[in-house]
């Protein structure tokens, strides 16, 4: 009953999902408290993005229950900021960086979808947070892949979300930008829940609080419990953990 006053950020119970007759996720049971910082890891095609889309209500489970902040996903998703996987969007689309960030302000009232002065201020400060302030008036087609990625994070932040869902936010970033992003996420985590799909376990231990492993089955672990054994189980092939000094750059490789 305590959940009524402070509901879980994400709660999934006995959730199953399949594309046609292809089972993708089986018997998912997860409970993510508010304020958590979760990394979702697993092999390609393991169902990471599917899991995120189920949280957003973009996909319907074949059975099971999902609650986001205590509500059904369709109702709660306006409170989620979502950054899709490096996307299928038209890279030549005629829109400015500011236009894209402003899309995060859709659905915040406003007559006929006009953006208010406040909407614009929020979009501008989101753009500043990801360090794109010098590119605000640039066309979307003229910025790099890494900048686009940061722009989609800014768009998600402009939603003023309570939960941030990021699908591979580091895919196109170089090491420096990656470090900046983790610093930003760590700061943001002080006030919102972050769930992030990641293709590598690289930084997992240093800033993430828990890890969800997805490979048809879904397992949650606090970061401290992650061992080579678990990683091997997830990726299905022997992996080697390389720990560098400071642990920030700890990476996993196929051995």
């Amino acid at each position: 009953m305590a959940h009524l006053t402070n509901p879980l950020a994400i709660y999934m119970e006995d959730l199953w999902f399949s594309y046609g007759s292809n089972p993708v996720l089986e018997d998912v049971n997860i409970a993510i408290p508010q304020g958590d910082f979760v990394s979702v890891v697993g092999p390609n095609g393991g169902g990471k993005t599917t899991l995120l889309k189920l949280m957003l209500g973009l996909l319907k489970p074949s059975r099971g229950l999902t609650r986001v902040l205590g509500e059904i996903p369709e109702k709660a998703r306006i409170r989620i900021g979502y950054m899709p996987q490096h996307s299928q969007l038209d890279p030549e689309f005629p829109a400015t960086v500011m236009d894209v960030a402003l899309m995060g302000r859709l659905g915040h009232g406003g007559f006929l979808g006009r953006y208010s002065k406040e909407d614009k201020e929020i979009a501008i400060s989101s753009i500043e947070l990801v360090g794109l302030q010098d590119f605000r008036k640039k066309p979307f087609s003229a910025i790099s892949g890494g900048q686009r990625q940061r722009l989609f994070i800014a768009r998600a932040l402009a939603c003023e979300p309570e939960i941030l869902l990021l699908d591979e936010p580091t895919a196109n970033l170089d090491v420096v930008m990656e470090g900046d992003l983790y610093d930003l996420l760590q700061t943001l985590n002080q006030r919102l829940t972050i769930i992030m799909v990641s293709h590598d376990l690289g930084f997992v231990s240093s800033i993430v609080k828990s890890v969800i492993c997805v490979k048809r089955k879904v397992l949650s672990h606090p970061t401290s419990e992650i061992t080579g054994k678990i990683i091997n189980d997830i990726y299905g092939s022997p992996m080697r953990i390389i720990r560098h000094n400071g642990e920030r750059n700890c990476t996993c490789q196929n051995s």
Binding site: I78, P94, A95, D99, C159
Partner: protein, 282 residues
């Protein structure tokens, strides 16, 4: 060219033709931009060609069955609505079969139109009229109709600019922000169908396809924002129709075909230039 300019001052049919080009440009510039960035230009083309079936049927019923008051516009409207509904439903429900359905409608629609026209007594050049139109035979009523179409499109295009932008850019994200994406998609398809219907009865089917594609394709090469692309498209559209008219007038070339070839050549030049500059810079 000087003949065109002197005659323009004396003949109202020429003034009407010029005005038609400009009015059509506004509709094509706005709707064409949305259609291109949403990547549904083949849907607009499919609807445009299906329209021939409706126009042919209306002509046949009027001439042979003496259904007075039935004009090709009515047939075009019915055919376009049927085509838009079928394509819209298929594309929202079963994405992978969309192109097959459009090709089927396109071919069957045109075949039906040609069948009806062949069985209709009268001049057979009507078929060419429907395909390429005759901008020199536009009536004042047609002009009012085009003006009305422009008003509808400008109002809808401005009112729902942010929503259309979001739906065209990233439909999934728009859903997550609580936008009624299907409604806006069907509204866009409806506006495109309306544009196609009205313009195809005035300037011809092929001309509509050309005007919804070529000037917008050029504008897309240089545009930084959606509204900028609309303005550039509209201006280019007007330039092409006007210069097409002017160039074709003296030697008595078909005006529609001249405009299309002009726009096509400009498109080719712009694409080549952009490619060459891109390589040069690298």
């Amino acid at each position: 060219m000087s003949e065109f300019l002197t005659d323009l001052q004396h003949y109202s049919f020429l003034q009407n033709a010029l005005l038609t080009g400009v009015l059509a440009s506004v509709a094509c510039g706005i709707i064409g931009t949305y259609v291109i960035v949403r990547r549904i230009s083949y849907i607009a083309d499919g609807i445009a060609h299906t329209v021939l079936g409706g126009m042919g049927a209306a002509l046949y019923l009027n001439r042979v069955c003496h259904w007075q008051g039935l004009v090709p516009l009515h047939g075009a409207l019915v055919a376009a609505i049927i085509a838009a509904v079928i394509i819209g439903l298929v594309s929202l429900r079963a994405k992978q079969r969309e192109d097959t359905v459009i090709s089927a409608l396109w071919a069957v629609g045109m075949a039906t139109g040609i069948m009806f026209i062949s069985q209709t007594p009268g001049y057979n050049e009507d078929l060419m009229g429907y395909l390429f139109g005759n901008i020199l035979m536009v009536s004042t009523r047609d002009l009012w109709m085009l003006g009305g179409l422009d008003a509808v499109i400008v109002v809808a295009g401005l009112l729902f600019y942010n929503q259309f932008l979001a739906v065209c850019f990233d439909q999934e994200f728009a859903v997550l922000r609580g936008l009624r994406v299907e409604v806006f998609y069907l509204l866009l398809l409806g506006l495109a169908a309306l544009t196609v219907v009205l313009l195809s009865t005035v300037v011809g089917i092929v001309m509509v396809v050309a005007m919804l594609t070529l000037p917008i394709g050029i504008a897309a090469l240089f545009s930084r924002s959606l509204w900028g692309m609309m303005i550039v498209s509209t201006i280019l559209c007007a330039v092409f129709t006007t210069s097409g008219l002017a160039i074709s007038y003296g030697p008595d070339y078909p005006a529609g075909a001249t405009t299309i070839i002009l726009a096509g050549a400009a498109y080719l030049v712009c694409i080549t230039l952009k490619w060459a500059f891109g390589r040069f810079r690298n």
